[in-house]
């Protein structure tokens, strides 16, 4: 049903075609009925093989016929000797080869080939691998063939190195080959994994490589070689996206360790908030709270009912347990499933306390390459900049420069980054919303870094054309937030992660048409996430359309009863 061009025809041509179709259909129906009757009668003979072969060679998606063939073949296995079975299956492979020549993208034919290869008494995997070679030389993007190749490689134990060399050859003859780059991304971490304890060294390939290992990082030595290969590719054809996608992956970072990143306790409210490095379901991961050596029976709640998995969870302590300011308390939260825990001491006279790793401690928003290799990233940046001089409006180049700048020095390059984003939105306007959101994300990251260097709990990001809010789990301790003069259209439910928030100012709906049939109610509903910020006292909404609605003040008072100081 793909790529069939519609042609205008005369009535006579139409009639001739119809007759021809009818004739073909009659033959088809007769053969199909004969097959179905034979199968119903439990006949598994050579004639049935011939009939199904006749039908399948032009209708390879007729799955039931492949099933019937397999039943016949399984039956023949029980009545013929091994040499005969070998011959029958070899004939089946030849038949399949002719099917694949006509239709190289049929799920049914490829699955059947895998089934036959696995049942062959004396399999010839070398032959299968060379079939893949030939097929991929005709169409190097045929994912059915690539998948079959991966199966052959697995069944016959082809060394990973040999497959990597194969992608070298394919990429060498044509850089624009996304399938080969993809294959490399799965092979490299198997062949050159990063050693677990010394991130800059190359480790030994594990004896048995499971598919999941492709999440592991590639060791640095090999990474450097890959950079060179990719550079060759994008210098040759700067508009070929395959190499750029692959390069962005190479520049990426490893997944963060799963751990408890922050424990916060409030004496006044007698509650504990816990932040994790990734969203979890605290009700099912075995989270244990110890207060002064005593395990506590508490109920963990997600910050927002919408999130069954959340990076921030809260619980209330039994009334009176920590309310006396004269007492000192020690808390420990254990994440039993991951053997991770975090302690937090609440000293005498203090109303709150926390213990955490900051985003700067964790280099959260940096590239994961080790520090001594900054020079490598610097030279990568230089090369891509050279390319940009030749191709000033190449969007792939611009985006990559931004990513490299962030890996090197996110704050130092902020101004240049913003300028590049502006160019990107101009040259690739179809995706301008993507660039706006990505730019917002980077500006938020920078603001978090600045906030942490300054050791304050004030998150202020105004007049930055923000289109989205993210990383809100990093703002658990923030007491004051200023989002004025941005282009945010709504508050995400994640806003409820700001458990310490006291003051919020800012224009959300700045200069933007808010599309909704009933904007009065829905804009109010969009402030709903604020209802989950327990300490919020002061809210400045001046400049938002919501202030124009009748009864705004009364309705907001109902929605956010804790807010005592409301500016509209």
């Amino acid at each position: 049903q793909h790529g069939r061009v519609k042609v205008k025809t005369t009535a006579q041509q139409e009639e001739e075609k119809r007759k021809e179709r009818e004739k073909k259909l009659q033959i088809y129906v007769a053969a199909r009925d004969a097959c179905f009757t034979k199968r119903k009668d439990g006949v598994f003979d050579d004639e049935a093989l011939q009939l199904t072969q006749q039908l399948l060679s032009s209708n390879p998606d007729f799955a039931t016929l492949w099933n019937y063939r397999r039943e016949i073949l399984l039956h023949l296995e029980t009545v013929r000797n091994q040499d005969e079975v070998q011959k029958i299956y070899e004939a089946e492979l030849s038949f399949l080869e002719s099917c694949l020549k006509v239709n190289p993208k049929s799920y049914g034919s490829w699955h059947h080939r895998g089934w036959v290869s696995a049942r062959l008494p004396r399999p010839d995997w070398a032959r299968e691998l060379s079939l893949c070679d030939r097929c991929l030389s005709l169409d190097d993007r045929n994912f059915h063939c690539w998948d079959y190749r991966r199966m052959v490689v697995k069944m016959s134990g082809v060394p990973v190195k040999q497959e990597l060399d194969f992608t070298d050859r394919l990429i060498g003859s044509n850089f624009s080959n996304y399938s080969s780059w993809h294959y490399r991304s799965t092979l490299l971490p198997l062949l050159h994994p990063q050693a677990p304890d010394t991130p800059s060294q190359c480790g030994n390939p594990p004896p048995s490589a499971s598919p999941q290992t492709h999440f592991h990082r590639v060791c640095e030595e090999q990474l450097l070689k890959e950079y060179e290969l990719v550079q060759n590719a994008f210098f040759t054809d700067p508009n070929d996206q395959s190499a750029w996608f692959y390069y962005r992956w190479l520049l990426g970072r490893a997944e963060r360790d799963e751990m408890i990143s922050c424990v916060y306790v409030s004496r006044e409210e007698e509650r504990v908030a816990v932040a994790f490095s990734r969203p979890v379901n605290a009700q099912s991961v075995g989270l244990l709270l110890i207060l002064d050596g005593q395990p506590q029976r508490v109920e963990w709640q997600s910050v927002h009912p919408h999130f069954k998995n959340s990076p921030v969870w809260i619980c209330s302590l039994p009334p009176g347990t920590i309310s006396d300011v004269a007492n000192e308390h020690n808390l420990t939260v254990h994440w039993t499933e991951k053997h991770s825990h975090r302690d937090c001491a609440l000293y005498t006279g203090r109303s709150e306390s926390w213990c955490r790793d900051t985003a700067t401690d964790l280099e959260l928003f940096r590239s994961e390459l080790s520090v001594e290799k900054t020079s490598v990233l610097q030279s990568e940046l230089q090369s891509v900049r050279q390319l940009q001089e030749l191709e000033p409006l190449n969007k792939w180049c611009l985006l990559t420069i931004i990513l490299l700048m962030r890996a090197l020095d996110p704050l130092g390059y902020e101004k240049e980054t913003l300028a590049h984003f502006q160019t990107l939105k101009d040259v690739d306007s179809m995706r301008s919303a993507y660039y706006s959101d990505l730019c917002s994300k980077f500006m938020i990251e920078n603001t978090i870094l600045k906030m942490e260097y300054a050791e304050v709990r004030v998150f202020s990001i105004s007049d930055r054309k923000l289109t989205t809010l993210c990383h809100l789990d990093q703002l658990l301790l923030v007491t004051h937030i200023n989002l004025s003069s941005n282009q945010l259209q709504q508050l995400p439910p994640q806003f409820a992660m700001l458990q310490c928030l006291e003051v919020r100012i800012g224009t959300l709906f700045f200069l933007l048409f808010f599309i909704n049939l009933n904007s009065e109610i829905s804009t109010l509903a969009d402030l709903q996430p604020l209802a989950s910020c327990p300490k919020l006292k002061r809210l400045d909404l001046r400049g938002n359309p919501i202030t124009q609605t009748t009864n705004a003040e009364a309705e907001l008072a109902g929605l956010l009863p804790s807010v005592t100081d409301l500016l509209l």
Binding site: Q1, A63, W249, K308, R431, Y434
Partner: protein
């Protein structure tokens, strides 16, 4: 447009091996256009009944073997008609459950082909029947996640290249199992929005031609991960409308090609996701009218 669907129903001998899905495509188009009553409801329900096998699975047509693909299509049709009691639901559940493998994956039928499409078919069928807890959901999720790639997308099996159709199945799967937070939505969203070509149409993989059906798969995936605004909606709308055949009203894969019910559904559903007010709202995960899912009480997760 309905003319296209009706003619497609008359000439279908050659495609009987996927007839159940063909009926689902056609009926969903009709329902989205508010024309479901024009189809012969009883005939279709009787046909589905006749396609359920002893094992509980449902086949594409009479005389064909049962398969997860057509089991899902049949359950979807019965949901449109609010007639799930026409088949033996318990047996369908047993059939689906029996196809789950040790590693959590699902085979399409007893012959063992493994594909993330079948993981989607399995959980979508069970979600529509309200029986998700009958399978090992944790293992099923583990398998789908093992198919995630360097670009944030998904392929058929672990190690397979990312493909928009497969990404639709896997994001839909993660939505139905409440695991969307496991995605790298920013990375995946980038790959997906890069599928839009200057014509406004979307392709299914880098360096491929645009196509109405891929437009749906990419668009629905973007909707599921909360990033539908990352593409140029007006341009996509123009591309989809250019694929509509003036004569029959149906849609083709690309402008000027032959129309078929498959591309007609995905053209109409795509227009609905883009906010076309003449079409009922479509659910991006199950590709069914939202009002039908509301009746069932099924509301798959979407990222915000």
């Amino acid at each position: 447009l309905s003319k296209c669907v009706v003619t497609c129903f008359q000439e279908y001998t050659l495609s009987e091996y996927l007839r159940m899905s063909g009926i689902y495509w056609g009926l969903t188009v009709m329902d989205l256009m508010g024309q479901l009553q024009r189809m012969n409801r009883q005939e279709i329900i009787d046909f589905i009944k006749a396609c359920q096998h002893e094992c509980g699975g449902i086949s594409a047509s009479i005389g064909h073997d049962p398969h997860l693909l057509y089991t899902l299509s049949a359950v979807q049709i019965l949901c449109l008609y609010d007639s799930l009691d026409a088949i033996d639901v318990e047996k369908v559940v047993d059939y689906v459950k029996g196809l789950q493998q040790e590693d959590g994956s699902f085979a399409g039928d007893k012959w063992g082909e493994i594909d993330t499409r079948f993981s989607f078919c399995a959980v979508a069928t069970l979600a529509l029947l309200g029986k998700m807890d009958t399978i090992n959901v944790d293992k099923a999720v583990e398998f789908v996640l093992s198919c995630m790639n360097f670009d944030g997308g998904f392929g058929c099996r672990p190690g397979s290249e990312s493909h928009a159709g497969q990404i639709y199945c896997c994001t839909g799967f993660l939505s139905l199992t409440g695991q969307l937070h496991q995605l790298n939505a920013d990375l995946l969203g980038w790959w997906l929005c890069e599928r839009q070509l200057p014509s406004g149409g979307l392709n299914g993989r880098p360096e491929k031609l645009p196509d109405v059906c891929y437009s749906w798969w990419v668009l629905a995936s973007l909707k599921i991960i909360g990033r539908i605004h990352w593409i140029d909606k007006a341009k996509l709308r123009r591309f989809i409308l250019a694929c509509q055949d003036e004569e029959t009203g149906g849609f083709a894969d690309r402008p000027g090609d032959m129309v078929d019910p498959f591309h007609t559904l995905f053209g109409v559903a795509g227009l609905s996701l883009l906010g076309d007010e003449q079409i009922k709202a479509v659910n991006p995960v199950l590709c069914m009218p939202e009002d039908v899912l509301q009746r069932i009480g099924l509301q798959p997760d979407l990222l915000s």
